[in-house]
Symmetry: C2
Subunit: 426 residues, 2 copies
Amino acid sequence: MMSETKTESIAELMDGLGKAARRAAGELAECALDVRNRALSAAAAAIRRRSGDILQANDKDMAAARERGISAAMLDRLLLNDERIEAIAVGLETVVDLPDPLGRVLAEWERPNGLRIQRVSVPLGVIGIIYESRPNVTADAAALCLKSGNAVILRGGSESFHSSRAIHRCLIEGLEAAGIDAAAVQMVPTTDRAAVGYLLSSMRGALDVVVPRGGKSLIQRVQDEARVPVIGHLEGICHVYLHETADTEMAKEIAVNAKLRRTGICGAAETLLVDRRAAERLLPPVCSALLERGCEVRGDETTCALVEGCIPASEDDWSTEYLDSIISVRVVDDVDAAAEHIRRYGSGHTESIVAEDVAAVDRFFARVDSAILLHNASTQFADGGEFGMGAEIGIATDRIHARGPVGAEQLTSYKYLIRGSGQTRP
Amino acid sequence: MMSETKTESIAELMDGLGKAARRAAGELAECALDVRNRALSAAAAAIRRRSGDILQANDKDMAAARERGISAAMLDRLLLNDERIEAIAVGLETVVDLPDPLGRVLAEWERPNGLRIQRVSVPLGVIGIIYESRPNVTADAAALCLKSGNAVILRGGSESFHSSRAIHRCLIEGLEAAGIDAAAVQMVPTTDRAAVGYLLSSMRGALDVVVPRGGKSLIQRVQDEARVPVIGHLEGICHVYLHETADTEMAKEIAVNAKLRRTGICGAAETLLVDRRAAERLLPPVCSALLERGCEVRGDETTCALVEGCIPASEDDWSTEYLDSIISVRVVDDVDAAAEHIRRYGSGHTESIVAEDVAAVDRFFARVDSAILLHNASTQFADGGEFGMGAEIGIATDRIHARGPVGAEQLTSYKYLIRGSGQTRP
């Protein structure tokens, strides 16, 4: 695609995408729900119909990745197969089923002077998505943007370039079937990293927000370079705190699930905090269950004394996102000490308290300020799908605009509609 | 204040403010409503009690400003008198009367697995406010931040330094009376412009958001330099559109009020758009009313032909925020043409349609994407107080986080509280 246009500068290219996106966003904002949904359904059909093309494109990416000696984990993220392609199509259809995020009356009231005020949801406008190797993000992110009436500029990782392009083609088919401007979903047609720099630093006005989705180094780059608003997704150093009133069996099940169900997601627990008064009762069975399942346990002194097979934790462990079968374990004095530990070492993502005492739960909920707090449930529920949002672009840990799972509803802004009968201001 | 600490670097100074603010924010987030309100009431009392000190400090600022040959308009913004000081105290009390923006359950639902999810409002955290010469902003901004549980770092204009400091002292008295950490409301204790640069570029993590409040050059600086999230307040190029079904008398009253009630506020109308089919009926009386009140009228060809005393408008007029007794007037074909003009030249702030035809109003509301749209009412209602928000820090024209008037409610974020009974994720 880009081979013919190498002479064109990145700036020209990106400004062109920006202009087309803004034009498409204007149309999309007025697009009825059934038209947006029709595009999504048609895209799902195209994904199924063109699965052969998508697999072929993916083969190309996989071969190049293997040649470059990419890690097994990354190869797995990159890989598409029939099952995963079907999941992409189903994902699009899930978004069709979501309620319309646009035109919701978020608040309304009347003023003493008779003015009737409504706050009504509208699209954000143009969204930039920067992501890494998972090609399914191309469809997931575009679907949420489209559902919420936003034009989107997608910039996927270079490893998944061909796979993403094949999926993008299906999305365009969907737009065309619904009569929507194809510029509603654009993909940056080059793997040149300068395009990301330009998108972050020079497209203020063209982009209303950028959503990065990827690992720490991507997020860091976005935060360093962005001159456009960002909906931020930091790392997830999530905690499970076992209160002295925790049920032993439940504590074990939640700790094992929170840590080990999937270790590579941001909602996976990294640290277990245990009340001193219940350490003897809880630590041996909980840690044994983790160790039995192949999890490395790095504990403080008390933990190491109580748990056979425990390795001593260092100060660094408390602020490490392992994303692996490793957990750090610390004994704390009470809810306040747990909250203090989380404030100091956590990333404001997701924490869970296991307790039977409601007062302790309330105190934990009040004192810990993370995007998601759970009582007697696994941190792995930190997921837009599990929240019933249908899908998500990620979990925001910044406090501006959206916090927690970012779904279609979070990709909206609002405007005020005020109806009067000739009022002037005294 | 700063004279003794000149050797301390700006970075050390600002980092110190940031750390103290973060600590105070942690306490404030758990502060009950009556404690926050007590601080505001006590601050209002201190403002009244110390009005002599405040006036003396203001004299100092006024003398220095006169010496520097500052404009009459700026001197007026800087001036405090008994009436204005009373208004500051009343402003604080108005914020006391607002409902608690914290702890609101914004949404709640239950999942099929039994998890009960609540989205609950919480403070943003630490807010930086950069403003210009009006000393009352010191109290207004601090009050909204305090009400919404946020710590604030205030950086006022150097012209109002002494006045702001005197007001700040009263705010501290209020905090002390309520037993709240004085670092909840801090003022940058130096007029060194480097402090603004540091605040914008190097306090990511320390500040959750910066709210600039001032003229175009301040906003420009903030947008250019900010590495922290900004709630943006751009210029207000507001339009009044007279539909062909507009009532003549109402059109006249709204146009005059929108333009002339106060010309220096961002909600003042700058451009009048008039339907071609009603130009002959509407333009002569509406423009005469404006001209009679000393307003300069700059019109397109049709307007100039219909209105005696009209000056030809140039292309630049359509994108100029006069903030003065000048209005540009253009004849358009219909609602769509009006919307197109606004899209092209407007700033997304506030627009009003005067019309009797409801379908035209609906179309205008759908096609124009500004923060505030009014039907048969003056654009000068674009104000937090007029919305019933009690007060505002400004009108946001960006689309992220808050749009329109930014009051106490808009200075909040949220977190999710999820209650389970032992759920693990399959």
